[in-house]
Amino acid sequence: MTESTYIEAIHAALEEELERFPTMVILGEDIQEGGVFRVTDGFLDRFGPQRVLDTPLAESSIAGVAIGMAQNGAVPVAEIQFADFSFPAFNQLVSEAARWRYRSNGASGCPIVVRMPYGAGIQGALYHSQSPEAFYAHVPGLKVVAPATPHDAKGLLKAAIRDPDPVIYFEHKRAYRLIRGDVPDEDYVVPIGKAALRREGGDLTVIAWSMMLHESLEAASELAAEGIETTVLDLRTLAPLDRDAILDAARATGKVLIVHEDNISGGLGGEIAALIAEHAFDYLDAPIRRLATPDIPAMPFSKPLEDYWLPSKERSAAAMRELAAY
């Protein structure tokens, strides 16, 4: 085990997989010089410009070219500089990558990975802060992951690269240098599709992922001091959802809070709540609560507006207390 930051874990996963797969190609904007977040620092010298490919400023072709590469023996890992800029590539991801296997009746797959730095909290304003996971998690044929820890960041990225199907990999940009943790020294993967129980407690259940997991865990510690015991489930994979883990965690306490950064209406929290309301109904002791950002078009730039907008540890804790008291 070695302690590393979230971004180091991603860097290491890419590096080790570039070593493992001689035809792996990473492609995106500015990645040769290391990328705007320095995730791909040093790769150009090590693996050369053919495998560390600077693309034109054109996201639809970043995704589309990756799809083509995957048909012909390359292992493409595309980067969308900010998840906010994945929308010009939406058609490629939804109509093409996601349906490749289905429409060919299983004759061929589309093993691409699309990395998307995402999330708020760095004053990125409307177009450098979004959490568009709900769009992609709604698309059958796409797998969607959103790791919270360096361990999972590395293990899920490796799993994504080795997966035979398209995977959208959401890496939280606020986590890059903020979140540290132990990472195994040997090769490992974290299986796609499995949530992780981060804390167990009988009073209520919080379901979260990525940065909101950390806020929720901090809130849970705070509440523990007040005698409220919380189960915290880290989804990790957002599609396909780990239904069993979700339902077990809901049944364990009968009270559920779901926390996410995306806006509330139509966010992934709705799907999770609906699963619970259908399949764990008899266990529920309280309304299913969601804490998310309000229905406004992404985070404003102004710091007071940003603070107002983003769910914080404090707001998590308040919602949890209220639910525990129900």
């Binding site: 054109a58 072709s61 070219v65 083509g68 590469m69 048909q71 490629q92 109509s95 429409r103 004759a107």
Partner: protein
Amino acid sequence: MTRIHQPESGIRATDLHRRMYRDMLLAREINDRMLILNRQGRAAFAVTGTGHEAAQVGSAHALKRGVDWVLPYYRDTGVMVVLGMSAEQIMLSLFAKADDPNSGGRQMPNHWSFPEQRVVTRSSVIGANLPHAAGIAYASKLRGLDEVAVVYFGEGATAQGDFHEALNFSAIHQLPVLFFCENNGYAISETSEKQMSVRHVAERARGYDIPASTVDGNDVLAVHQEMRWSVEEARRGHGPKLIEAKTYRLVPHTSSDDDRRYRPRAEVEEWARNDPIDRFRTRLIEAGTLADEEGEQWAAEVREEVDQAVDRAWAAADPAAESALRHVFREADGSP
């Protein structure tokens, strides 16, 4: 940059020409039959390439089968015939049968996928597969393979952003890709003046410094010659090319379309007089490559082949209802 190729004056009596003619006949027969089967209520939907056979057969015969990658579009019955998809397989697709090699009855007819001939699956979203061709060619280059990728599309597709992005990427990396445009003057009802401000699709390639040519798409040999040269160039590492084959669809856009609403009959009739199959037959007979009675005999053979294909495909099994749930992701049994 734009040049109209004239076919060589003397056609040599080669097997290739006979083969091309036969393929065109078969493609036409399949095309026509698909539409008839729709009109008879036996096929829910048909989209055909009647009139495009020279462009399709001439170009596809310039490819190395099993080596080159092919991304045909919904009109390209002729391309698929050249690549060896049988009339029966195409009819299995028309009837959405379980054994349809393209999609097992999941996609509309003529949405090709034929892995054994390196035909990759495509959607109905026009323009979206052009970047795929660029990506395939990039991988060929990366891996040092001698392959070329060809993507087929109509002139309407050239208005899409993905067209621009694919050409741009291919030109920057000098990839072995051919952009083959079957310009039939219409995108459903819209004439090409509504799609572009230049006369020829070939002119669109200028903004990328991609060499481009405009050929008579109803002249199978002219198409073939231009395509051969372009494929060789691409294979030699000289980068992408765009070929525009000017042609015409002699039929409605699809079985759902009524082209009398937007095309003058006189225009259709004039192009019918320029039917690529008739033109080629005349030349083959004149050159002594084909005997008159052979032409008739082949036509009869092809009809018979398609008759049988239809019967067998019609009798084939539908996909099992619950199979609709399969292949969203790779299954444990280990498909690709």
